[in-house]
């Protein structure tokens, strides 16, 4: 394969194509593509090009970063499993049980701020890990396709969480559809009161997870054995690695990452235990993020930020009279262009070869 057309370059091309397509759709439907650009630039920089006299408003930037936090985590979750040869489509369920477990700790344990928050996060991650353990275990020891189990566990996670919350936690009497508010010790504090954005210290966990992801996979023996298992589990078995156990661990770690996403969202944004009506789709967003980010830490960070931009920018789009479905179309286009990168590389190579041949022909 030609190294020249590196993964990064391809991803960039995909992003540019995706955005171009978005512009085109906006143009065709008679809206202003400039407005679209403004919406994204506002999320990215806080600067409102439509009203240049207004000062920079960091709230939009913080909202963008806030949006990025959970999907980077679910992206890492999908990515981690992917690197071990597993498809974690169960992020949704892991997210919900993580959220619920964190709510339990938040509401039932009395502690000072920092340890309380940390305990909430840890327990959220453990619950996610448990939810990841089930498909991992069934895959490893019963040879059951993890995809089915994950899909089933998404629904089980939803209803089971609701059951636990309704049965064991104190329900908010005003609505009967959520718990009472968390004590202040269990709320992820905002990073700054400068803006109204809820951007909070959950980002520390996200950064930590990113670093750990990279470190574990690339730098530790454990990561080495997981990667070997992912690429060729038979060879890993031949080399004496505990392939089954690795499968279980890997799904547990993936689950923990999605669980972490659930925990930071519930502790930082909602601040009360939720009764879920529908999937939040963070798990599915994670699939896009992981795949576009080529399942490596830096890639996931970047693609998480990108998708968050499209989502929060997508909300902003509506302020500019552009339906937010446009941003969904752009997301789809970007994923699609990433999907066909292999073909694009081949074409580029062919093109290069063609150029070479032309040159050669002239020389001859």
């Amino acid at each position: 394969m030609n190294k020249k057309h590196s993964a990064l370059k391809i991803s960039l091309i995909a992003v540019v194509f995706g955005l171009l397509l978005g512009f085109l759709v906006v143009l065709i439907t008679g809206r202003s593509p400039m407005d679209m650009l403004y919406a994204f630039i506002r999320s990215l920089t806080g600067y409102n090009l439509a009203k240049p006299d207004k000062p920079i408003n960091l709230m939009y930037v913080f909202n963008w970063l806030l949006e990025a936090m959970p999907i980077i985590l679910t992206g890492l979750s999908v990515g981690f499993a992917y690197r071990t040869g597993l498809f974690n489509i169960g992020g949704e369920g892991q997210f919900m049980v993580g959220s619920t477990a964190a709510s339990f700790v938040a509401l039932t344990i009395n502690m000072p701020l920092v340890p309380h928050i940390i305990l909430c996060l840890v327990v959220g991650m453990l619950a996610g890990a448990l939810w990841g353990f089930i498909p991992g275990f069934l895959k490893a020891y019963h040879n059951i396709n993890e995809v089915v189990v994950c899909i089933m566990l998404n629904y089980i996670g939803l209803f089971f969480s609701n059951y636990l919350v309704r049965t064991f936690l104190e329900i908010d009497p005003n609505t009967n559809a959520r718990t009472v508010a968390f004590p202040i010790t269990a709320v992820l504090p905002k990073v700054t009161d400068m803006t109204a954005s809820q951007f909070n210290y959950g980002f520390v966990l996200v950064v930590l997870c990113l670093v750990m992801y990279w470190f574990i996979l690339e730098k530790t023996t454990f990561g080495y054995s997981l990667r070997a298992t992912g690429f060729n589990s038979e060879a890993a078995r031949f080399a004496g690695m505990k392939v089954k156990r690795n499968t279980v661990y890997s799904m547990m770690i993936a689950g923990a990452l999605s669980g972490a996403a659930g925990a930071i969202v519930v502790l930082g944004v909602f601040k009360y235990g939720r009764i879920f009506t529908l999937f939040d789709n963070y798990g599915f967003d994670g699939i896009s993020v992981a795949l576009v980010g080529a399942a490596n830490a830096v890639g996931i960070a970047l693609s998480g930020l990108l998708f968050a931009l499209l989502k929060s920018g997508g909300n902003n789009l509506q302020l500019f009279n552009i339906p937010k479905e446009i941003s969904q179309l752009i997301q789809a286009a970007i994923i699609f262009f990433v999907a066909i990168q292999y073909g694009v590389i081949l074409m580029l190579n062919k093109f290069d070869g063609f150029k070479l041949k032309l040159k050669g022909g002239k020389k001859a």
Partner: protein
């Protein structure tokens, strides 16, 4: 004499490599025409072009004197060209019949596949050419030799006149090879023309009329086989002199390292595959395990290496009972293993070469300290092995293993396993599909390992390899030990008879 096939000035470029460079091959009708060349010389490529799988970058192909454009296998088929690929193209979960008729299915009047009719036709063909296959057997349940005969039947079923065999004997037992040679001669007699790719000069001598030699994509020349010696052909192929027989001193056997006692194991279907098998391997000797494929070798090796459980009996390594240890435990107890299937088991093809080198020792110092990998140490070690074992690849230790040639992949495995300086080295089919140069090298390394005091268990389907390399020869037939003799006291014939279970000769091995 009329040419059945003429491939004139064929050039084929792959991205980054010219696999065929202005190659011309002319094949007379009703002959066996061999193609000889090192690994990667471009033999498979040019045959794939003839079969329509690839398009040549330039060059002309004529069939029976007429210029043709073979843009896909269908056209090749309609021109009467059939091919048995180096790696069989058989669908595992289909039956023999389904595989043979695929693409040319006879239909009933309801439009369904007429399996019955097809099976009958296949039985007849099979009888006519002495192929002996069961049309209703599933591919995954039949031996490699049988699979190959299915491949041959595919061509016969399609009435092909020009048959291409890409390394057909690499996976066969001596008896099977012998049968195949007979079949080929038979086919030629029936009016077919055969193109045969092989690394084995003996086979070329045995069946071929002409031989074209390729080296690094270029055509070196075409020779008349009866006027050329094996040595001359080998030199043409490699471009230098080659050693045929392995140079080795007499063995100095010492203490027993591997001791297998009354071992019984089942295969993955739960049938008994190894029966009451006992064998000792001593330090400083090479014990060759000969046998026809499917007689329990794989299961035996799995049981020794811990990849499968044994039913009863015991295995000792250096006196330690390892019967129930996991894989890792056995490796740590001093075992090295060059597996049969290098792609499936030997290597993680998507790892860079250097990461494949540490697959056993990644948890040990100096490659990792407190579970943290030490890249610098890993790099150093990779460089060392690459140099020591002459492993060649595009980007050295950073090359993706998948991009390396088969021979070099095998060398990488050998390097990794032999450098562990294990007490017991189990090598299975170490030279399958490799060219003579690579074989020569690998054999010498195995002997060196023996001389350094290791006990070597060599499992091979190639009798030449067993005879050349072993100090003692054990023969397995139907899961049982049917022979255990000194290499110098036996010959191909006797081993062949033991392999087929015709005679049994155990225990007159001097120490």
């Amino acid at each position: 004499m009329a040419y059945a096939i003429e491939m004139l000035n064929i050039t084929k470029d792959f991205p980054g490599i010219r696999a065929n460079d202005n190659v011309t091959i002319q094949v007379e009708a009703n002959t066996v025409h061999a193609l000889l060349g090192e690994n990667g010389a471009g033999k498979s490529t040019i045959m794939s072009i003839l079969f329509g799988l690839y398009q040549p970058t330039s060059g002309i192909i004529k069939v029976n004197g007429k210029e043709v454009h073979i843009s896909n296998p269908n056209i090749a088929n309609s021109l009467g060209i059939g091919m048995v690929h180096q790696h069989f193209k058989l669908v595992d979960c289909f039956t023999v019949t389904e595989n043979i008729i695929l693409g040319m299915e006879p239909k009933t009047k309801y439009g369904t596949v007429d399996i019955k009719k097809a099976a009958e036709k296949i039985s007849k063909l099979s009888e006519k050419y002495g192929l002996n296959v069961d049309p209703y057997a599933k591919i995954e349940n039949i031996s490699v030799g049988m699979q190959q005969r299915v491949e041959i039947l595919k061509m016969l079923y399609r009435n092909s006149d020009i048959l291409i065999f890409d390394e057909p004997t690499a996976v066969l037992t001596p008896q099977e090879i012998h049968e195949l040679m007979l079949i080929m001669r038979n086919l030629v007699k029936e009016g077919k023309t055969i193109l045969l790719i092989t690394h084995k000069l003996k086979e070329i001598k045995e069946v071929a009329d002409h031989c074209t030699v390729l080296r690094k994509g270029k055509c070196i020349g075409t020779i008349d086989v009866k006027d050329t010696t094996e040595r001359q052909m080998a030199e043409m192929m490699v471009g230098r002199e080659v050693n045929f027989s392995v140079h080795k001193e007499k063995a100095q056997p010492k203490e027993v390292v591997l001791s297998i006692k009354n071992l019984n194991c089942n295969n993955f279907k739960g049938l008994r595959a190894v029966k009451d098998f006992s064998l000792d391997v001593r330090a400083g000797e090479i014990v060759g395990l000969a046998g026809i494929d499917g007689n329990g070798q794989t299961e035996l090796v799995y049981a020794i290496t811990g990849l499968a459980k044994s039913e009863s009996g015991s295995i000792f390594l250096n006196g330690q009972d390892i019967t129930n240890l996991p894989v890792k435990g056995r490796l740590d107890a001093g075992m090295a293993h060059v597996p049969e299937d290098r792609h499936k088991h030997g290597l993680v093809l998507d790892f860079p070469l250097k990461e494949n080198f540490i697959i056993h020792c990644y948890k040990d110092r100096p490659f990792s300290v407190n579970h943290i990998l030490q890249p610098q140490k890993i790099d150093e070690y990779a460089d060392f092995l690459i140099k020591e074992f002459d492993v060649r690849s595009g980007q050295g230790k950073e090359s993706k293993t998948r991009d390396m040639s088969g021979g070099n992949q095998q060398k990488a495995i050998i390097a990794r396993e032999l450098d562990r300086h294990a007490k017991l080295v189990i090598v299975v089919q170490p030279t399958r599909g490799l060219d003579v140069g690579a074989i020569e090298y690998i054999h010498s390394r195995i002997v060196a390992q023996r001389d350094a005091g290791a006990a070597v268990l060599l499992v091979s389907l190639e009798l030449d390899e067993i005879l050349n390399l072993s100090d003692k020869i054990a023969v397995i037939y139907d899961g049982q030990l049917s022979g255990y003799v000194n290499a110098e006291d036996t010959d191909e014939n006797e081993i062949g008879l033991m392999m087929s279970g015709s005679i049994k000769k155990v225990g007159d091995c001097h120490e």
